[in-house]
């Protein structure tokens, strides 16, 4: 009744192909942005901002990165955490060598380092596909993690083998380090995530995205249509690793504030792969859904018993959370194997014809 396109006429191609073709969608995205930019920082407390929102955005960004590679180009990667680690360590090295340069610049620059590493490990993708490529990227994951542990130069010969984030400011206000307020950190992360999501959205809706999808759907056909496979696949690796690298730098600098190489273990790669699969392969909004379901849901479940006044032991809650999240993942995959994004699409379709379904 309310969500319908009747009366909204498209008079040119651009309008017809817009990312948000319906007015209601535009209003919806405006409301979400207003919520994220104004309401959440005003209403949310420090816990909500630094434990729920910042990690959620970081994971969403990493999921977008992996989604560009796995969902849009069809190249399965298990090296996500390794690429995130490259971003984090590159940012750490850059900001300790050139402390006077703005940290935001270095966060982007670290993405470039990650992209270069990603391209290198993406080279085999021309020859191998599917599970075999997954194994090749797995090698990247283990090799990179080995580097983080074994090359002391990367962590400045720190005895503990960890990187500690120094205080850096933006317009005189600390954004990293212990003195940075959650609001400031949230705004920086949010700004970067919005910007990069917007860029990703433009990429996948344009020529590059189409060539990625053509390669995903059938690479021989794509090649016959004139798409050069190697540059296309390598570009996908580069862009994907760039996003992961930025996410990794954000993770260590604006969320943890210090990290051991163990943070970038294979488990992290799997976590992000699950987010992509459950959110929906080949969908940007799905990356956000996936990150929300896998990261935020356990936090809500952990907080739920004490909120309603039940006194359950912390370990029991943890076990219950594991079981509930696991069961939910299975349920979602049975109900909608194409992920939450497809569920969202179906919901929108249903809403269009409501209350008179045909």
């Amino acid at each position: 009744m309310f969500y319908r396109e009747a009366g909204q006429f498209k008079t040119n191609y651009a309008a017809d192909m817009a990312v948000f073709p319906i007015l209601q969608d535009k209003i919806g995205i405006a409301i979400i942005l207003a919520l994220a930019l104004v309401v959440i920082p005003l209403v949310g407390n420090a816990f909500f901002l630094s434990v729920v929102m910042i990690p959620f955005l970081v994971f969403a960004l990493a999921s977008i990165g992996l989604n560009l590679l796995t969902g849009y180009t069809g190249l399965l990667s298990l090296g996500t955490a390794g690429f995130m680690g490259v971003g984090a360590f590159a940012c750490y090295k850059l900001t300790t060598i050139f402390p006077e340069v703005n940290i935001i610049v270095w966060i982007f620059a670290s993405g470039l380092f990650s992209a270069a590493v990603g391209v290198f490990f993406g080279l085999p993708s021309l020859r191998i596909k599917g599970f075999y490529l997954a194994v090749a990227t797995l090698a990247a994951q283990f090799f990179l993690q080995w580097c983080f542990i074994r090359i002391p130069w990367l962590y400045n010969y720190n005895v503990s083998g960890a990187i500690e984030v120094p205080t850096r400011t933006l317009f005189g206000i600390p954004v990293t380090g212990p003195n940075a307020s959650p609001e400031m950190r949230y705004y920086v992360v949010l700004g970067l995530v919005i910007l990069l999501t917007w860029i990703a959205s433009n990429l996948v809706h344009g020529r590059i995205g189409r060539s990625w999808m053509a390669v995903r759907d059938m690479d021989i056909a794509a090649e016959l249509m004139g798409i050069k496979l190697l540059p296309t696949k390598l570009l996908a690796f580069a862009v994907s690793s760039f996003y992961c690298g930025v996410a990794g730098a954000l993770m260590v600098f604006l969320w943890y504030g210090g990290a051991e190489p163990e943070v970038f273990s294979i488990n992290q790669s799997f976590l992000i792969l699950f987010m992509v699969i459950i959110g929906g392969l080949g969908s940007l909004i799905g990356s956000f859904f996936g990150a929300a379901l896998i990261y935020i849901l356990p936090i809500v479940l952990r907080g739920a018993p004490s909120l309603v006044g039940l006194d359950i032991g912390a370990a029991t809650v943890e076990h219950l959370t594991f079981m509930i999240v696991g069961a939910l993942i299975i349920v979602f995959l049975i109900v909608e194997p194409h992920g939450l994004a497809r569920l969202w699409q179906t919901g929108k379709q249903k809403l269009r014809v409501w209350p008179f379904p045909y």
Partner: protein
């Protein structure tokens, strides 16, 4: 159904709203970061039980500390940095008097925050060794000894076995360790000792993701045949190492570990583990009034999650020791400030002036449980001696007198590391906290 649920919810909210004022008597909030789930729970559960039970016992027996009841809350970290940071943010707002992260990975991101949030961190014999330097790290405490102290004690012990440190010349010592910050930390000292004493050092790193598969490392051990093996492991690494050592018939009495292997580790390693040695700085067993109080007032009453026979195991008692430090820190803070309800800032001062001597240990019902310990503004560690204990197949048996660490070798390393940390983190705050007189 929905109505029913919302009624339950409403009642619960109203009930909790009424329940709150009842708690408003004097109380101190002590969060405990524990891990009873995940791959490290084998080590985490006994520690969690020991920590919780000692503090519960204080609540039951004395009504808390100095008239203030302790509110204990466990936060499950699963030994995962993400969840640990989440736990920290969750408890930060509730005025915790101190944080015990129980994971080096969680300790590191919290170190810079401690001074900002005014919450002291007690990382008992783990975490950043350099944080023993109170001048650089006024908010971090890591008594009673560091991993460097531990290594120097092990080498000293080996020297004793051989009849003097000079006899180590030409010997081969193997070092099997978790290839992470914790296991790599002793390396600089180990290298230096190898050079100075003339023994050969063989390294066998075990990556964190293949802790349970050490066959390749032990194959090398078999080839190299080191005279002694030193182990720095945690979680599943320990029982696996002992099992593998037994498999290649490595003489167990020459296999010496830092203080982390527990009873469960040894039991799961099987009969081949007999003779294995570890460092330790506190007693095992329940032959102490305080531990008997725990059994009587906590375990027998069903207030503990610990199985009855696990009380007195080495990691359980380590949890008890940790909680003894927590309790003494709080008590000391009360004494210093004259307040009943102390804050994190007060407890920082309390820990800094901690002085648990023999008499005090006796008062606590822990006479002979552990050596005395004294912290100062500059020394947040104490560098206490530890003794060697040996697994006899069923329990740990103390086999040596306390061994003093080599202070002359550890101290310069510590100071350099602390200076280094402060230099690298630009804008690391200078200490502004005044130093209290010893109480």
């Amino acid at each position: 159904m929905v109505r029913k649920l919302s009624t339950i919810l409403a009642t619960a909210i109203v009930a909790s709203a009424f329940a709150l004022p009842a708690k408003a008597q004097d109380s101190i909030y002590v969060p405990l970061f524990t891990y009873r789930t995940g791959p490290f729970s084998g080590s985490g559960i006994p520690i969690a039980n020991g920590m919780r039970d000692y503090l519960t016992m204080l609540n039951e027996r004395d009504g808390g500390i100095g008239g203030a009841k302790l509110i204990l809350e466990e936060c499950e970290t699963g030994y995962d940095t993400k969840k640990g940071v989440e736990c920290y943010e969750a408890v930060k707002g509730k005025n915790p008097v101190m944080i015990n992260p129980w994971s080096t990975g969680i300790t590191l991101p919290l170190i810079p925050r401690a001074a900002v949030d005014k919450i002291p961190i007690l990382s008992m014999a783990y975490g950043l060794s350099a944080s023993a330097d109170g001048e650089t790290f006024p908010w971090i405490f890591n008594p009673p000894n560091t991993y460097w102290d531990g290594l120097s004690m092990i080498i000293k012990y080996i020297g004793e076995q051989e009849g003097g440190l000079d006899k180590l010349k030409g010997k081969k010592i193997g070092y099997i360790y978790l290839d992470a910050g914790f296991g790599r930390e002793p390396l600089p000292l180990f290298d230096q000792l190898a050079r100075d004493l003339g023994f050969e050092l063989k390294l066998y790193p075990v990556p964190a993701d293949s802790m349970q598969n050490q066959s390749s490392q032990w194959l090398s051990v078999r080839r190299d045949r080191p005279d002694y093996m030193v182990l720095y492991g945690w979680g599943a690494l320990n029982p696996t190492a002992v099992k593998e050592a037994a498999k290649i018939n490595y003489p167990m009495e020459k296999f010496i570990s830092i203080w982390w292997p527990g009873d469960d580790d040894m039991r799961s390693a099987g009969p081949g583990g007999k003779g294995f040695k570890t460092l330790n700085w506190h007693a095992v067993g329940t032959d102490f009034p305080a531990l008997q109080d725990i059994q009587k007032l906590v375990v027998d009453k069903g207030l503990s999650q610990a199985p009855k026979n696990s009380v007195g195991e080495v990691l359980y008692n380590r949890g008890v020791y940790n909680s003894m430090l927590i309790a003494e820190g709080i008590r000391n803070a009360q004494k210093l400030t004259g307040k009943t309800v102390v804050t994190g800032e007060d407890v920082r001062r309390g820990l800094e002036t901690l002085n648990i001597d023999e008499a005090r240990l006796k008062e606590l019902g822990l006479e002979g449980f552990a050596g005395p310990i004294k912290l100062t503004c500059t020394d947040h560690n104490g560098h206490r001696p530890a003794f060697m204990q040996q697994w006899d197949g069923e329990k740990w048996v103390k086999i040596s007198e306390p061994i003093e660490p080599m202070a002359d070798r550890v101290k310069p390393l510590l100071e350099a590391a602390a200076r280094d940390y402060a230099e690298k983190s630009t804008g690391w705050p200078k200490r502004t906290e005044p130093c209290d007189k010893q109480s």
